[in-house]
Symmetry: D2
């Protein structure tokens, strides 16, 4: 099932600046093969729903393995059956 | 990896009242074996991260199979390595 | 205009444990006069939309005044014109 | 107090396609005088916190006045005291 999503990684307790962790999360999403669009409040992605969820899981696993102690991700997932959901189709 | 999460299913285009779809989503989460706490803005869950993500995927799959045309879920996922995350531990 | 909302305060850089700040945010919401229901992922509130937004603004102002350096709040606001929105009406 | 935010308007019950309402919400945000950046999952804004909250309130008021029956907005608000928060500063 194709889906679009927004993924925002929020490291808690990694300091006031979280740029390094957020960049690493973005890098991991880039490695996922999903179509990506980055903006100031997260990364919009397009791809298979299970692939998106797997990418989110990998962000948690890798960031923790690399030292992030606490991680919150806010994910907005969207699927529809009347047409194939795309980021391009959601633009105004 | 253990996680806590909040899952809110938002059917779009199913009418102004979405109680039937939201109840069905909740029912599917109950079948997932995760620890659940329901509130007015979603369902808090506790369990294995991959099990939580699988439950979210199943909500999308089943609701679409049963006629929901467009579905947005807002998911807040939280993991931490300093202690096992639980819903009980997040209560004030 | 009456509204329901979910408010989650997420202090960034205040350490891995953010219980003190989250409790303070909750205390400020309690002082707002809104109807409240707390759960593991935030506080659900019911009241006038402008009163809710004012309460969110006050959480940011007071937490910063008391030393929180960076604060993210995730707010889900809901209004409807077909009936008066209440937390009780949103329960399954 | 300066802030950045992401605002996503989600009309419920307005049909499967909600482009007209989402465009109208965006138009109202443009009239607010805030700095805006639109993406597939919402509009990022930068400005005074109270001005941002007022803009969100106006989106609810105007959309309801123009016929939207039920409206959910997901708002991520961010403030910090160590530097002036900007959308430019949040870009990777």
């Amino acid at each position: 099932m194709k889906a679009t999503a927004e993924i925002q990684a929020i490291p808690i307790g990694a300091g006031v600046s979280v740029r390094r962790e957020v960049q690493r999360a973005h890098e991991l999403l880039q490695q996922s093969g999903l179509i990506l669009e980055t903006h100031a409040s997260g990364t919009d992605v397009e791809g298979d729903l299970s692939q998106i969820l797997h990418a989110v899981e990998r962000v948690h696993a890798v960031l923790h393995a690399e030292g992030t102690v606490r991680l919150l991700t806010v994910v907005k997932l969207e699927t529809r059956t009347d047409k194939v959901p795309t980021l391009a189709g959601k633009r105004l």
